[in-house]
């Protein structure tokens, strides 16, 4: 049983009994929280609130939900992107620093490629444009397939591959 089939079973149960939604929540809350956490500049409280918003919307829309052969997380990520977009519309004064290219002064001089570990690499990821950040996080952070990422972002798997390649190139440049 793959993830999509497993989720479908859980969704059906939750549609019959909303208390069963908890299983879906437990399954995906970490992923969604992380996704949102980095989208809102690692603001813990905001990330929590938006995560709750995502699951609340998902629960509210559950009776009408129709699975399309993807894991439920795909849908949750779509909702999360929408919720984040709404958040930034309402809080225009809060700059989304993930959209700003941050130049790390140390990267060029002191740091060598071999000396960089994973956590440092993720901090460099944060200097990428937000669209590339999303791609990298979904692919390498959440280990989603190109198809799933394409579904979430509304792109074809080929476009996702190309964009990921560009993101890696960008990361190399910034090392």
């Amino acid at each position: 049983m793959n993830a999509a089939e497993r989720d479908l079973e859980l969704i059906r149960k939750a549609q019959h009994n909303s208390l069963e939604f908890r299983a879906l929540y437990d399954l995906y809350v970490d992923q969604i929280f992380r996704f949102i956490y980095y989208r809102v500049s690692q603001h813990q409280e905001v990330a929590e609130d938006l995560t709750a918003e995502v699951f609340a919307k998902a629960l509210h829309a559950l009776p009408k939900f129709r699975a399309q052969g993807y894991p439920y997380s795909t849908y949750l990520y779509q909702v999360a992107r929408s919720v984040c977009a709404d958040y930034y519309k309402k809080h225009k004064e809060v700059a989304d620093i993930s959209e700003i290219d941050i130049v790390d002064d140390a990267s060029d001089s002191d740091r060598t490629y071999d000396a960089i570990d994973g956590s440092m690499m993720w901090s460099i990821v944060q200097t990428l444009p937000v669209t590339l950040q999303e791609l990298v996080r979904l692919r390498y952070g959440e280990d989603l397939s190109h198809e799933e990422i394409g579904k979430i972002l509304g792109k074809s798997p080929g476009a996702v591959r190309t964009a990921l390649s560009r993101a890696i190139s960008e990361l190399k440049k910034r090392l």
């Binding site: 992380r34 709750a52 609340a56 629960l59 509210h60 960089i116 570990d117 993720w122």
Partner: protein, 404 residues
């Protein structure tokens, strides 16, 4: 050198939610979902209640607007929607007067004079149930109903209200037969009875008979009326040696305009009879001009830009109570305060009747300087070329001096 993709994939992601945090967050999920549920119901309820409420409200407003407009239109239609000033046929003798008053209303219908309403030419046509006799605008045909109204008004049989072949003219045959020798008799708003009498028959008995007729018609007493000799109207061949009189209520504070002379800018003397425009000659300076020319000049002057500053002198005014002329030589200065282009109903006079014609007129309002006396005069605005030799007479008195 490690591969970038490997580095990213192998790294453990932070932050992670604790169990307690997850519980707390789930509680918020349920709370938010419950709020969404309530909101969706509120939205639906809003749709169920507000939309029908607004729809019904809009329908109500539209219905009221339609009713209001329709009511206004109906009110303006004579005789359909109760006009308080309008008397009814078959009323008492006083009611006959009321009926006449209503006609006057239709004729002049200006605020302050006989009513508050302004009646248009269309209203007049509606009143008379007349259809245009020809393409000539404003000329009305006297319909059978009008003949019956006149017969009822003067208490004669309709057969005695003779009309010519085109039913354009009307006269009261019976009037002649009972010896009043009046070719016309009009009862105006203020109760003024205007009649003409052949000079040969102009004696006290004739006038007394007319007065008795009025008294009978109105249910009043003789003491309440005065007879005013107005002016010799022997200017026209077909009414040679006729005299005209007014029978005026003694308590009427109304001066009827017949015979008024208004001097225009002092040296311009215009014979201006108001009720009765006659083809006499008058002087403007040393120049002899026809009355039509004089009227035309008056018209032109009225059409001038600033009529408010013009000074007019009143030649003489007839006192209806004493039958004496007031200030024959004394010129009163009057101030024109308003000139309004309106329409009025005329009746052309013939020996045996007349035509009803609607003509544009200037309604001139003003004040006698140094007094509280207001006046109102009607001047034909398009006499020339419209009516040639016919003498014109207003059905109602056109010239009034009203005391405040």
């Amino acid at each position: 050198m490690k591969d970038i993709e490997q580095l990213l994939s192998q790294t453990t992601h932070t932050p992670k939610l604790s169990l307690a945090m997850k519980e707390r967050l789930y509680a918020r999920v349920l709370e938010k979902e419950a709020r969404m549920h309530r909101l969706s119901w509120t939205t639906r309820m809003r749709g169920w209640f507000i939309v029908p409420t607004f729809t019904l409200g809009a329908l109500g407003v539209a219905t009221f607007a339609i009713w209001f407009v329709a009511r206004s239109l109906i009110i303006d239609m004579p005789g359909i929607y109760g006009n308080q000033h309008q008397g009814q046929k078959g009323d008492s003798e006083h009611g006959v007067f009321a009926h006449v008053q209503s006609i006057d209303e239709y004729i002049l219908g200006r605020g302050g004079m006989v009513g508050e309403r302004y009646w248009t030419i269309e209203s007049l046509i509606s009143l008379s149930h007349a259809r245009p006799r020809s393409s000539q605008e404003g000329v009305l045909r006297i319909p059978d109903q009008r003949v019956h109204e006149i017969a009822e008004l003067f208490r004669v049989h309709p057969e005695n209200v003779r009309t010519d072949a085109d039913k354009d003219r009307v006269c009261l045959e019976e009037r002649m037969s009972i010896g009043l020798s009046m070719s016309c008799l009009f009862v105006s708003t203020k109760g003024i009875v205007n009649f003409e009498q052949r000079e040969a028959e102009a004696n006290n008995d004739g006038r007394g008979e007319a007065l008795r007729y009025v008294v009978e018609l109105t249910g009043t007493s003789v003491d309440e009326w005065s007879i005013l000799p107005v002016q010799d109207v022997s200017h026209a061949e077909h009414v040679k040696n006729w005299k005209q009189y007014y029978i005026v209520p003694r308590n009427a504070r109304t001066f009827t305009g017949y015979g008024f002379h208004i001097a225009l800018a002092e040296e311009k003397l215009v014979s201006f009879t108001g009720a009765y425009i006659q083809p006499v000659y008058t002087t403007v300076g040393q120049e002899l001009i026809s009355e039509y020319e004089a009227v035309e000049r008056v018209r032109e002057d009225f059409a001038a830009q600033d009529v408010h500053d013009q000074q007019w002198g009143v030649g003489y005014i007839m006192d209806p109570l004493s039958n004496e002329q007031l200030s024959v030589s004394k010129h009163l200065t009057i101030e024109i305060t308003q000139v309004v282009l309106e329409s009025a109903l005329f009746e052309t006079l013939h020996e045996n009747g007349g035509n009803i014609i609607v003509l544009p007129v200037y309604l001139v309002r003003g004040k006698v300087k140094g007094t509280d006396t207001l006046f109102e005069v009607v001047v034909d605005a398009s006499l020339r070329g419209r009516v040639s030799a016919d003498r014109l007479q207003f059905i109602t008195h056109p010239f009034q001096l009203l005391s405040l």
